[in-house]
């Protein structure tokens, strides 16, 4: 009798421990680490400052290119013909080019090929506005990056960068976002560093921030030299970060500190 009771207690303890480990390891959106007022700001589309960027993107989406076509010609005036499920799969592997394509890169390719425009410079204001508009179309969709196929080596390369110490501070992404999520860095609460809200509005800098821009900012605060704009290191990191957040809901444009 006593033995079965002891076994039962062990079982309960072990299962609760496993549950807590699973909870700690399951991805949690940065939203969960926000203060109540910031959450309210994000949820209210009229108060969310990132919506300005969505509107800028919508305008560009309907701006005729050199051949008088617009993005809306194929995708509808409000992008209603875009498939949110496909947006949530980015970055994807582009067979034709043989490299991973971020959503921004795909938009830029369309801008050049379909609209006959001069392509945007990587991560410039306009292309980020377009990216914000397009990704906002997939708000609420589950991030679903497939790394079982050709993206695998890029994912692994991104993971290695994520775990590499950089700069005079000699820190890697993991030191804040894997080991210390939920703890306080001065007045800020560290999140798990997921990408589901990007491009997002940052209250600290007062501007829309693409994932690549955020990574550059982190590098500067590490006192490290960021890679070049659009460098393959950033792309690999984007592949890793998006896949790392598989299962989270897209929140673009999120509001973060």
């Amino acid at each position: 009798m006593l033995k079965t009771f002891v076994k039962l207690v062990y079982l309960i303890l072990a299962s609760s421990w496993m549950l807590s480990v699973a909870y700690a390891q399951s991805p949690r959106s940065g939203y969960e680490f926000l203060t109540e007022s910031t959450r309210e700001m994000q949820d209210d589309e009229f108060a969310n400052p990132g919506m300005v960027e969505v509107e800028k993107g919508r305008k560009l989406f309907n701006t005729p290119g050199d051949n008088d076509k617009t993005c809306a010609t194929c995708h509808g005036e409000n992008g209603e013909k875009l498939n949110p499920k496909k947006i949530a799969q980015y970055p994807v592997y582009n067979e034709e080019f043989g490299v991973p394509f971020t959503l921004q890169k795909q938009i830029n390719l369309c801008w050049e090929d379909q609209l006959d425009n001069v392509p945007f410079i990587d991560d410039c204001v306009e292309v980020v506005a377009l990216e914000t508009f397009v990704r906002h179309k997939a708000k609420g969709e589950t991030v679903n990056v497939d790394i079982s196929g050709p993206l695998k080596p890029y994912y692994e390369a991104g993971k290695e960068l994520y775990n590499t110490r950089f700069g005079q501070l000699d820190m890697a992404c993991k030191h804040c976002h894997d080991y210390n999520a939920g703890k306080k860095l001065r007045g800020q609460v560290l999140s798990q560093g997921h990408s589901n809200g990007f491009p997002e509005y940052r209250l600290g800098t007062g501007r829309i921030t693409s994932l690549q821009r955020r990574l550059r900012e982190c590098f500067v605060s590490f006192r490290a030299t960021p890679f070049d704009f659009g460098a393959e290191e950033w792309i690999n990191l984007e592949v890793y970060l998006h896949a790392r957040g598989n299962g989270l809901k897209i929140e673009t444009p999120a509001v973060r500190y």
Binding site: T164, D170, K183, L185, G187, R223, T225
Partner: protein, 176 residues
């Protein structure tokens, strides 16, 4: 480039002999100016490139002060607060009530001197990775050769100077 400047210098030194005095005066003042610029640049580089004092770890402690320098607790407290220097408050709770929002990534430093010796404190400020290779804590006097992709402004430099490290250690020793 070097040859060009040599020729330029030779011309400067030869020509004044055959020249009008006002001309040579001009050239003389130019040379003085150049010499001043050179001297000033020498002084500034020597200020920035502080020599690296090597240190020795014994039983997870650095017992000797870096470069034999003497610390100042008052200055150390300022380094601990300064966001561009030690910025200890980013991660640690400290008995500095005038500063809001102390971090809690590292352990509280309140009463730290009752738990650790001077040598142990010095090692933790100089290079915590000697104790815990996976730590988030920057090595404030870790040798710069260990760093990757450091931006130009900080290339080849330690995070804090040896004097600043000694100031912080002296300050930490007052936290009893």
């Amino acid at each position: 480039m070097a040859i060009n400047s040599l020729i330029f210098l030779r011309n400067l030194s030869l020509k004044p002999l055959a020249m009008h005095s006002s001309h040579s005066l001009k050239i003389l003042s130019m040379l003085t100016f150049l010499a001043t610029v050179f001297a000033v640049s020498l002084v500034t580089t020597s200020v920035h490139a502080e020599q690296y004092y090597s240190w020795q770890m014994e039983n997870f402690a650095i017992n000797a002060p870096l470069g034999g320098l003497k610390g100042n607790a008052q200055r150390g407290r300022q380094v601990a607060i300064d966001a561009h220097k030690g910025s200890c408050l980013t991660c640690h709770e400290m008995p500095i009530p005038e500063e809001p929002f102390h971090g809690n990534i590292g352990p509280s430093l309140i009463g730290v001197a009752t738990r650790l010796t001077e040598g142990q404190l010095r090692l933790r400020v100089v290079d915590e990775k000697q104790i815990n290779p996976e730590t988030i804590m920057p090595g404030y006097y870790r040798h710069p050769r260990h760093f990757t992709l450091v931006s130009d402004d900080y290339e080849g430099k330690t995070f804090l100077t040896a004097q600043e490290v000694e100031d912080v250690v002296t300050y930490l020793l007052t936290l009893k």
